[in-house]
Symmetry: C2
Subunit: 390 residues, 2 copies
Amino acid sequence: MAVTDRPLALGFPRIGVVGGGQLARMMAAPAGALGIGLRVLANSMDEAAAQLIPDVVLGSPDDAVALRELAQGCEVITFDHEHVPPAVLQELTDAGIVLRPSASALAHVHDKITMRRALDAAGVPGPRWAVVADEAEVLAFADRVGWPVVLKTSRGGYDGKGVWVIREPALLAAVLAQPLPEGAAWLAEECVAFTQELAAQVVRSPSGQAVAYPIVRTVQTDGICTEVISPAPDLSAAHAIAAQELALHLAGELGVVGMLAVELFDTPDGVLVNELAMRPHNSGHWSIDGAVTSQFENHLRAVLDLPLGSPAATSRWSVMVNVLGGDYPDLYRAYLHCMARDPGLKIHVYGKDVRPGRKVGHVTVCGDDLPDLLRRAHHAADYLTGTITE
Amino acid sequence: MAVTDRPLALGFPRIGVVGGGQLARMMAAPAGALGIGLRVLANSMDEAAAQLIPDVVLGSPDDAVALRELAQGCEVITFDHEHVPPAVLQELTDAGIVLRPSASALAHVHDKITMRRALDAAGVPGPRWAVVADEAEVLAFADRVGWPVVLKTSRGGYDGKGVWVIREPALLAAVLAQPLPEGAAWLAEECVAFTQELAAQVVRSPSGQAVAYPIVRTVQTDGICTEVISPAPDLSAAHAIAAQELALHLAGELGVVGMLAVELFDTPDGVLVNELAMRPHNSGHWSIDGAVTSQFENHLRAVLDLPLGSPAATSRWSVMVNVLGGDYPDLYRAYLHCMARDPGLKIHVYGKDVRPGRKVGHVTVCGDDLPDLLRRAHHAADYLTGTITE
């Protein structure tokens, strides 16, 4: 455990961030510009955010003692991930610590069944779903919605983990035989025939002000977001507005404070909610370089109940491509090539050592020519990953 | 003395920055994005950059021992200010420490007489000047160039300090009676009848790559830069190109590595060099929000000999206005008004407690309507300063 407090100018607040990953890391730049102090709870000093934020509390996100230490001298606590157990969130709330988003809002991202019930109650469209206990119940569900069926653990999944697309009954038993995370149940969902995947991002403050970012198109590879285009091309104005309204409505209904990301399926009949995240999200990284106010700045402003900044795009198109760890460990040397080839490229690395499949950074390019931006962003990401060498 | 090292990802370098002011502070955001480590030499943990950069060496910029400690484990040393004595720079160079810019380049900003001689040798136009020892020599210079005459101490001046505009001979004696900083002499310069003040910013890498930012218009109030418009309005294309070429030429001639700011007088006959700075500069703060690559990012890229980023503007106009400390000490409370009034406003504060006349932050707005941008930026700065209260 180690805290290194740094002074702050008179009257400026400090925010405690649970988690030392890249999302906390990317909060550091807007916090610095706004003069706001950050303190992070990290598992080790190697973590992305602990490398560049002076005030670090070392500890686990399920340890209430560490979380109380994080909260000391912080005006408010916010989150880089969803791994704080609900009981611990409740204990902190009872102790008078201000959590934004609140424990009750976070319940919806902690458990996907809670989320599905809340979405139905809010009248928000999603895929058909059912809580299932065994093979027979999945088969009954499939009889109703058709194959394939998506099986999810209601808790503990992320980046494609805890999700299976089941294409035939014979494969069911092996999936259901796996141990469930503590407190989790099996959730079956209709496999939606979508035309594209979208994300709606909105930010909401405790006083109820909310603004919506442009709707983006996301591409997932093996369950991990790999490409984002802002705004989503080939999206009807009606669906774009519906998606923004849906996300603003949900933020209010669920009492979200800070950023809310709503992952959506676009279908000919309208948009359906896939997943939620109540924090800055991979689908909004483009906003650092492509919007007047980034998702990270607006998240900080929201949790402090400061007026929100404009989410307007500063370019016609922004393309963000994730850099996943590959076989090539020396990201820094790959810089020279990428920077020399493309002076307009914005590279963001997270300070993580390279491991295969790990999100180690992202690149963004902004401009008018979408096919050109896509080519440039993918070339850079592929080169940084080591997939290509020239 | 205190160093708190943080880990860096494999292969990533660390830069040592002499000085803990706002320029070092604003390097932190691009360093984080690029995964580059920073360590600052600061006088105290209260300083702007020491508040948010983990690795701090406490010490004075004229203390060679502190500077050597700063340099340990850093690939290169760069600067937030010009206060390292030339003898100390030479000692570090002799010890094999890489300074960027180098001691020989920095000699031109340490002493304005050295600078004037180098500008003349490079064939770069400036006001007429002379080294003067006493009243009689100033009067002889004034006979040649006319009144008023500008008197400067060759060393130790900044933000209007060490500069006097002498309008009549009777006032000379009082100025010349003042003690000179160590090693300094009096420099007399022609008082140029300029139409506007400009700044040219270029960045150059050790391998000789260099790029030029758009020429900006600067407004000085009591010798402190208070407003910058990018690009400079009412500037002929010929003068803009001449100013960029002049700065690129100078960067090469003087062997500058990193950012070079050339403060210029615009006159009907062409541009004349007023001052130089070999570091990120107040006239380039707009680039954080208004350019593809900020001056801070390009400075870091240059001193590491990484390929340089595009200096292109992302909006038609950017307006930056400095926030000077006023009577109102609570900057944070003033946020609410400014943010609520203008969601497009970018506020940057430096973590400094407010003292009258001190640069405590700046605001930037970008867009198409210059009169509107000027109104918005000045309103916000005046409100943050406490000059206006609604």
